[in-house]
C-alpha cells in the first residue's frame, strides 16, 4: 500500500476536498428529492438514485442510493448526450426508454446540464421509480409481451427548455399516467434536486476554476479505477461458474399449462487486476417482461462484486470503478435483451438474481468473502382501484423484504433489503391512511432462514385485507420455485409464496408474476423468502440453536428436521436457563 498510483495529478488536498464536495452534491440531491416527492415509493421507500456526471455522461459520483442503478445510470445520461447536440442552460431532459439508456419504463430519468458562464460542466441526473407509467395495468406491472404494452415510452425529450416548462411534453406525459397530480409532484421534486445540484456544481467551478473542476471530475473516476484494480490484485487469480433457474416470465405459452422456468449461467474469470463475467449459455430472451438489457445485467454484476471486493467501502461508486470489469452476454439472451422485448420485471428480479449468482461463482475463488443467497426478489405487490372513502383512484406499490444471506462468520439478517435493493417498507399506518386496505399482519416467518453453521436471515409475511371495493392487483416476485441457495454446505432458505384467500376462506395460490383480481373482503398473503445458510447445519453451535428456539426463529420441528437436533426441548431449556442467569 506504500506506493501511491499517480492517476491523480491535482494536489492531494485539493483532490480530496473537491471529491468530497462532489459526493456531497449527490447526497444533497437525495435529501431534496426524498423530502419533497409525493408518491410513497419515492418519499418513504426511497426507490431512486442521484448522480453527478461529466460532460460526456460518465458517472462521477453516485449518492448513497440503490446499487441497482450502478450499471445503468451512466447510460441514462449518455443517451441525452447522444440524442442532442444543442443542449442549453436551463434545459431539463426526461426519458425512460430501456432501449435508450433506461432500465424499465417506471424508472423515469430527469437529466439537467450544469453550465457556468456558458460552459458545460457536466450533468445531474435523478432516476426515480414512478408508481405508474401507464399501460393496461395500474402500477404498470402487467405480464405483457412487448415493450409497447408496458406503458408510456419516452426517448430523451425536453421537459424544460431554457428554464421554461415545455408544456407540449408535460401535457402528453400526464395524459398517459394514472394519478397525474401525484406524478407532477414527483417530477417537480426530481427537477428541484437537479437544480440544487447544478447550483452547487457552478459554485465549485467558480471556486476552483472550470477547467480544474472538469479535470478533477475525470481524476475521481481514475481514482476509483485505481482503487478497484488494487483490490482485484489482492485476491488470487481463478475461475468460478454458477447456474440457476428463474421461476418464469409471467406468460403461460400456448399449449402449456404453466409458466415455464428458464436458465441463467455465468462464469467469472479473475486475472491480475481485471475480471470478466461471461453469461454464455444463458437462455434466449423470453416472451414476458423478464428480459434484462445489458446495463441491468451489469448492475447486478457490479453490486455483487462491490460487496465481495470492497466491503469496507473504500472505492467511491462511479463509472471508473467498473472499468476493470468486463460483462459479456449473448445478444438476444435473457441477460442481453433486444428491442422490443418487454423488460419491466427484469430490472430488479434479474439484477437480484445475477448479484446472488456472482457470490455463488466467487465462492470458488474467495469463499471467505461471499454470502449465501439472499431473498433474491423485490417481491412487489401493486393494488389499484378506487378508494371507498373518497371515490378517488389509487395505485399502491409495495415491496416486502426477506432474508439477507448468511456470511462466512455470522448469521444472515432477517427481513432487510439485500443485494441490488435498499428500499424501505411503508409503515402500516401510512398505508391504511392512504389506501383502502387493512394490513392484518406483518411478521417474521419461523424456520424460513436456511439452516447452516450460520443461519440464513428469516423471510417475512405481510397480509392485506381488501376493503369494501374490488382491487386489481399485480404481483412480481421470484424464488417461488428456486429457493435461495445455501453456500459451502448450507441449506436453502424458504421459497416465496403468494395467495389470495377469499371472504369464505378458500385459498388460491398465485403464479409468481402477473395481474390478478383481489375482490372486496379477500386477504392477499405474501410470504417472502428467507436466505440461504453458510456451512453445514451439523456445525451449528447448539447454544445458538437454543437461542433461536427461545426466540422462535426456529421451531422445535424445524430444529429436528433441518438441524437433526435430537432434543430441541433441552436446547431451549438451556437457553432459558442462560437468560434467567443474566
Amino acid at each position: 500500500m506504500a506506493a501511491h498510483p499517480s492517476v491523480v495529478k491535482t494536489d492531494a488536498a485539493t483532490f480530496e476536498v473537491v471529491k468530497n464536495s462532489l459526493y456531497a452534491v449527490a447526497e444533497e440531491m437525495k435529501v431534496v428529492l426524498a423530502k419533497t416527492a409525493y408518491s410513497p415509493i419515492l418519499k418513504v421507500a426511497g426507490d431512486y438514485s442521484c448522480g453527478v456526471f461529466d460532460d460526456r455522461g460518465n458517472m462521477v459520483a453516485q449518492g448513497p442510493d440503490l446499487p441497482i442503478h450502478l450499471g445503468s445510470m451512466p447510460d441514462a445520461v449518455r443517451a441525452v448526450v447522444r440524442a442532442w447536440e444543442d443542449i442549453e442552460p436551463g434545459d431539463v431532459f426526461v426519458h425512460n426508454d430501456p432501449y435508450f439508456g433506461g432500465s424499465h419504463l417506471p424508472d423515469v430519468n430527469v437529466v439537467s446540464p450544469a453550465f457556468v458562464d456558458g460552459a458545460l460542466l457536466g450533468f445531474c441526473c435523478v432516476r426515480a421509480h414512478w408508481p405508474d407509467i401507464g399501460s393496461a395495468t395500474p402500477g404498470s406491472y402487467g405480464a405483457v409481451t412487448d415493450v409497447y404494452g408496458e406503458g408510456l415510452r419516452l426517448p430523451p425529450v425536453r421537459i424544460h427548455r431554457g428554464g421554461a416548462v415545455n408544456r407540449d411534453v408535460e401535457d402528453m406525459i400526464f395524459a398517459n399516467v394514472r394519478t397525474p397530480a401525484e406524478r407532477r409532484g414527483d417530477l417537480r421534486a426530481q427537477i428541484a434536486a437537479n437544480r440544487r445540484a447544478c447550483e452547487r456544481l457552478a459554485a465549485l467551478a467558480g471556486k476552483y476554476g472550470t477547467d480544474n473542476l472538469k479535470r478533477i471530475m475525470q481524476e475521481v473516476m481514475d481514482y476509483s479505477e485505481a482503487m478497484m484494480r488494487a483490490l482485484l490484485r489482492d485476491i488470487p487469480d481463478g475461475e468460478g461458474a454458477f447456474e440457476d433457474f428463474c421461476d418464469g416470465d409471467g406468460i403461460v405459452a400456448p399449449g402449456s399449462n404453466r409458466d415455464e422456468t428458464f436458465d441463467i449461467r455465468l462464469r467469472i474469470t479473475k486475472q491480475g487486476d481485471g475480471v470478466t463475467v461471461d453469461f454464455e449459455g444463458s437462455d434466449a430472451q423470453v416472451a414476458g417482461p423478464m428480459n434484462a438489457p445489458l446495463s441491468v445485467t451489469s448492475s447486478g454484476v457490479f453490486a455483487g462484486l462491490k460487496m465481495a471486493m470492497d466491503s469496507a467501502g473504500v472505492v467511491p461508486p462511479n463509472s471508473g470503478a467498473w472499468r476493470p470489469v468486463k460483462v459479456v452476454a449473448p445478444e438476444g439472451s435473457v441477460v442481453n435483451a433486444q428491442y422490443p422485448a418487454p423488460v419491466v420485471y427484469a430490472n430488479h428480479e434479474m439484477s437480484h438474481r445475477i448479484c446472488d449468482m456472482v457470490f455463488g461463482a466467487l465462492a470458488a475463488i474467495i469463499p471467505d468473502r461471499v454470502m449465501a443467497c439472499s431473498q433474491g426478489t423485490s417481491a412487489v405487490l401493486t393494488l389499484g382501484g378506487t378508494d371507498y372513502r373518497t371515490d378517488e383512484h389509487y395505485v399502491s406499490y409495495e415491496t416486502v423484504k426477506g432474508g439477507f444471506g448468511a456470511r462466512p462468520d455470522r448469521d444472515g439478517i432477517s427481513a432487510v433489503a439485500s443485494g441490488i435493493s435498499n428500499t424501505m417498507n411503508t409503515p402500516v399506518e401510512v398505508i391504511e391512511m392512504s389506501f383502502p386496505v387493512r394490513v392484518e399482519s406483518y411478521e417474521l416467518l419461523p424456520d424460513s432462514g436456511g439452516a447452516g453453521r450460520w443461519r440464513g436471515g428469516l423471510g417475512a409475511r405481510r397480509t392485506w385485507r381488501i376493503l369494501e371495493r374490488d382491487s386489481r392487483a399485480t404481483v412480481c416476485c421470484e424464488r417461488t420455485k428456486s429457493a435461495p441457495f445455501g453456500i459451502e454446505g448450507g441449506a436453502a432458505g424458504a421459497p416465496a409464496r403468494i395467495s389470495v384467500v377469499d371472504a369464505h376462506g378458500a385459498e388460491r395460490v398465485l403464479n409468481s408474476k402477473g395481474a390478478f383480481d383481489a375482490p372486496a373482503g379477500a386477504l392477499v398473503v405474501f410470504d417472502v423468502p428467507g436466505s440461504g445458510g453458510y456451512g453445514p447445519p451439523a456445525d451449528r453451535d447448539p447454544a445458538r440453536l437454543g437461542e433461536d428456539l427461545a426466540d422462535g426463529y426456529v421451531t422445535p420441528e424445524g430444529a429436528r428436521r433441518d438441524y437433526a437436533a435430537a432434543d430441541p426441548d433441552a436446547l431451549l431449556a438451556a437457553a432459558n436457563g442462560r437468560d434467567a442467569a443474566v
Binding site: F15, E16, K30, K43, M424, E440, S441, E443, A460
Partner: protein
C-alpha cells in the same frame, strides 16, 4: 439571587459550570470523568467548583445536569429487561424496522440491535382502523394470559404499542390499567402517552427506548438526588435533548427526552451568548478532540428535529444510518462530523489525503503530546503551521514536541506525496476544514439560510483555531469566541430555561379541519403544558406556551414545522399557517406548490418557563499573560512572523487589533489571520471581523 451549577459529563472530563446570577460571573471546574460510576465525578466536580468559587450550598438556586446515562445504556446494551405488547400480527414490528440496511456494500454488517428480544414480545387481539374506529374489540381473556406470562418473566418495565393508538387510545389505556393493577410498581410506558404520532415502528421504538432506559435513569437520578440532598443542594434538573431543563419526575415520564443533552447545552450556550451580544443569527461551531458539531440559531431561536436515532453509529451528515433506535422526540438540530484535533491524517491506496474518522483521542493522543502517538493528527498539523505553540499547551502544563509532529507528517503524508512538511500540514488542515465546512453548510445553506447573514460562535478546545478559515469558506463576516471556550458548553446548562414539548398527531387537510376537534386537542396539550409550568412554581410572567404544526403537501412524507398563531384556531389562522408552510417549503427546497392542499400531521405545544436572564462574563486579566513566547512564525498562506498575545491584551475599541496574530490562553488558542481584526468586549468575549 444565588449561584447556578451545571454539570456536563464528557469522555475525558466532567465539566462543572457555575454562574453567579447577580453579577453574571461564570466559571468552570474540571474533574476526570468516572466511567464506572458517573455520579461520583458529578458530586466531586460540584464539590470542587463550590470550593474554588466559595459557594455556600444555601445560595445555590439551580443544579442542572446533562446526563449521558441514557445514551450509554443504549450503546453498551445495558438497559432494563423489557416486555413489549403489540397488536396481533405485529409482534415483530420492532425487529422488522423499516427494512433498509445500514450500509449498502458491507457484506459483514450486523443487524441493528433489538431492544426487546422476540421471546419477550407479546400480542393481544384488537384492532383500531385508519379512521380511529374499533374494528376488533380488545380480547380481555387473551390479555389476562399475556399479563400472567409477563409476571413470570421478571422484567423491569413494559412497553405497549398498538396500531393506530394515536387516533384512539382506548385499548392501550385498558392494557395499561390491567398491567398496572396486576403488576404494581412496574413501570409501564404506553405509546399513546409517550408519542401519540403516526408510524408504528418509530412509535414502538420510542416507547421501547423509554422502557429500556427508564429504570436505569431512575436509579441514577435517585442516587444523585440523595447525594445532592446530603450536600444540602436543591433538587436536580435534567437537560433534555430539546435544550431545555425539566425536573426529575418529568424526566422519568419521558426518558427518551434526556438523550444527547450534552451537545444541546453547547447550542444553548451559543444562543444565550447571541442574546447577550445582540446577535440574533448565529451558527454555533463546537470542535473538540474527535468531532465537530454545527447548529443554527435564527432570529434567536434554536432549530429542533424529530428525525433522530440513538445508540447507533450516530447522525453524522445528512442521513440517519439506520443502525440505532429511532426516537421521535425534538432534538436540537445538529450536524456532526468526525473531525477534531485528534483526527488522524492518512493516505488511502488511491493516493487521496484523508483525515479521520479515526482519532488518536486522549490516548495516545497527537504525536506532539509525546505520549506514544506516532500518526499525524490535525493538532500536529496546527503545530507545524504555527497555529498552536511549538513548545507547550494548557498554559504550560502540556509540553509539545514539535519535532514529533514534523516526523509523523513527513513519514505518513509529506514523503509519500513528494511534498515538504509544511505543504503537507497545510493540506491536512484544508481537508479537515472542508469537512467541517460541510457540517456548517448542512445546517445553513442546505436548510435555505444564507450563511453570510450569520455570525460564527466558535468554541470547544479546537474550534477557535479553525474558525476564521471556516468563516472565509462560507462568507461569514464575524467570528465570536467566548471566554473559557473549552468549557463553554457547560454554561448552557445554567443559562437555559425550563422547556417541555407536547405533541399529538392531528391528521387533516388544512382546508378541511374540524375546528372544534383541533381546538379540543390543542387545549389538552396546553393544559398539560400549563400543569408542568405551575408545578415548577415559576411566576406567571415567565411562563409561555407556543404552538406549531407539522405540515406537508398532502402526498408528501416529510413535514416542516410551522408556527401556529395564538388564540382559538379559526379558518383565518389556518390560512396563515398554510402560507407559512408554502414559504418555508420554498426556502428549504427551492420551490412551492401554492395551488395544492396542505396536510396537517402533528400539532405541537412547547411550554417554556423562563429562568431569570443572566449576562455572563468571565474574569479576564488585563495585559499580557505571565508565561509564553511573544512571537512566532505562522503559516497564513505564506510564513509570517506573528505576535502572540493574551486575551487581556486585546483592545476594546471598535477598531480592534489587525491580524495576523495568535491569542493564547489556558484552554484554547485563537488564530486571527491577515485580513481579520479582533477586539475584546467588556465581558471577555472576543469579536473577530473580516476587514472589508
Amino acid at each position: 439571587m444565588g449561584w447556578r451549577i451545571g454539570v456536563d459529563i464528557g469522555g475525558t472530563f466532567t465539566d462543572v459550570a457555575v454562574l453567579d446570577e447577580e453579577s453574571g460571573r461564570a466559571g468552570i471546574a474540571k474533574v476526570l470523568t468516572t466511567p464506572r460510576d458517573f455520579g461520583a465525578a458529578v458530586i466531586d466536580g460540584i464539590g470542587a467548583a463550590m470550593g474554588e468559587y466559595g459557594i455556600d450550598p444555601a445560595s445555590v438556586s439551580l443544579v442542572s445536569h446533562a446526563t449521558t446515562i441514557v445514551t450509554n445504556a443504549l450503546l453498551e446494551g445495558k438497559g432494563a429487561d423489557v416486555a413489549l405488547i403489540t397488536t396481533e400480527g405485529f409482534r415483530d414490528v420492532l425487529e422488522l424496522r423499516r427494512s433498509a440496511r445500514a450500509d449498502l456494500y458491507d457484506l459483514f454488517q450486523n443487524a441493528p440491535a433489538v431492544l426487546v428480544p422476540r421471546r419477550r414480545r407479546f400480542e393481544v387481539a384488537e384492532r383500531i382502523d385508519a379512521q380511529g374506529e374499533v374494528v376488533a374489540p380488545l380480547d380481555e381473556a387473551g390479555l389476562d394470559t399475556v399479563v400472567e406470562r409477563i409476571r413470570g418473566l421478571d422484567v423491569e418495565a413494559v412497553a405497549v404499542c398498538l396500531v393506530f393508538s394515536f387516533l384512539n387510545d382506548a385499548h392501550e389505556r385498558r392494557v395499561g390499567e390491567r398491567l398496572r393493577a396486576a403488576l404494581p410498581g412496574l413501570p409501564v410506558f404506553l405509546s399513546s402517552e409517550v408519542l401519540p404520532e403516526i408510524r408504528e415502528f418509530e412509535r414502538t421504538s420510542t416507547t421501547a427506548v423509554c422502557a429500556y432506559v427508564g429504570p436505569v435513569l431512575a436509579s441514577y437520578l435517585d442516587r444523585l438526588e440523595a447525594a445532592l440532598a446530603e450536600l444540602r443542594l436543591p433538587s436536580l434538573y435534567v437537560m433534555g435533548s430539546n435544550g431545555g431543563v425539566f425536573d426529575v419526575p418529568e424526566a422519568l415520564k419521558m426518558p427518551a427526552g434526556a438523550v444527547e443533552s450534552g451537545p444541546a447545552a453547547g447550542v444553548i450556550a451559543a444562543q444565550r451568548m447571541g442574546r447577550q451580544l445582540g446577535r440574533a443569527n448565529l451558527i454555533s461551531f463546537d470542535m473538540g478532540g474527535t468531532t465537530a458539531k454545527a447548529s443554527l440559531i435564527e432570529d434567536g431561536r434554536i432549530e429542533t428535529t424529530s428525525e433522530y436515532e440513538v445508540g447507533g453509529e450516530g447522525n453524522v451528515g445528512r442521513w440517519l444510518h439506520g443502525t440505532g433506535h429511532p426516537i421521535r422526540v425534538p432534538v436540537i438540530d445538529l450536524a456532526e462530523v468526525s473531525a477534531g484535533g485528534g483526527s488522524i491524517a492518512w493516505l488511502d491506496p488511491g493516493g487521496a489525503l484523508r483525515v479521520g474518522p479515526q482519532s488518536a483521542g486522549a490516548e495516545p493522543g497527537p504525536a506532539c503530546y509525546g505520549q506514544g502517538g506516532t500518526r499525524p493528527t490535525v493538532t500536529d498539523a496546527n503545530v507545524v503551521l504555527g497555529y498552536l505553540s511549538r513548545t507547550h499547551l494548557l498554559g504550560g502544563r502540556l509540553p509539545i514536541d514539535a519535532a514529533a509532529s514534523e516526523a509523523a507528517i513527513r513519514e505518513h503524508v509529506a514523503d509519500p506525496l513528494g511534498l515538504d512538511v509544511a505543504e503537507a500540514a497545510a493540506g491536512i488542515v484544508r481537508v479537515v476544514n472542508n469537512s467541517m465546512a460541510e457540517a456548517l453548510r448542512i445546517v445553513s445553506v442546505e436548510r435555505g439560510h444564507d450563511a453570510r447573514e450569520f455570525s460564527l460562535a466558535a468554541f470547544g478546545g479546537a474550534g477557535p483555531v479553525h474558525a476564521a478559515a471556516l468563516a472565509e469558506e462560507l462568507g461569514i463576516a464575524e467570528v465570536i469566541v467566548p471566554p473559557i471556550p473549552g468549557g463553554f458548553s457547560a454554561l448552557g446548562l445554567v443559562a437555559t430555561d425550563l422547556r417541555r414539548d407536547y405533541a399529538h398527531t392531528f391528521y387533516a387537510r388544512i382546508d378541511d379541519v374540524d375546528l372544534d376537534a383541533l381546538n379540543r386537542r390543542l387545549a389538552e396539550l396546553e393544559a398539560a403544558a400549563r400543569t408542568m409550568l405551575e408545578n415548577a412554581g415559576l411566576p406567571e410572567a415567565d411562563r409561555s406556551i407556543e404552538r406549531s404544526a407539522d405540515c406537508r403537501y398532502t402526498r408528501q412524507a416529510y413535514e416542516l414545522t410551522v408556527p401556529l398563531g395564538e388564540g382559538r384556531v379559526t379558518r383565518a389562522l389556518l390560512e396563515a399557517l398554510a402560507d407559512g408552510f408554502h414559504d418555508r417549503h420554498l426556502r428549504t427546497y427551492g420551490h412551492k406548490n401554492p395551488d395544492e392542499a396542505v396536510q396537517m400531521v402533528n400539532v405541537r405545544v412547547t411550554a417554556t418557563g423562563r429562568l431569570p436572564g443572566v449576562e455572563f462574563h468571565a474574569d479576564v486579566e488585563d495585559g499580557a499573560a505571565s508565561a509564553g513566547e511573544r512571537e512566532r512564525e505562522v503559516v497564513f498562506g505564506e510564513r509570517v512572523r506573528c505576535p502572540v498575545v493574551a486575551r487581556g491584551e486585546l483592545p476594546a475599541g471598535a477598531e480592534g487589533r489587525p491580524g495576523p496574530f495568535i491569542v493564547e490562553e489556558m484552554d484554547c488558542t485563537i488564530a486571527v489571520p491577515p485580513g481579520w481584526r479582533a477586539r475584546r468586549d467588556e465581558r471577555g468575549f472576543i469579536l473577530m471581523t473580516r476587514s472589508a
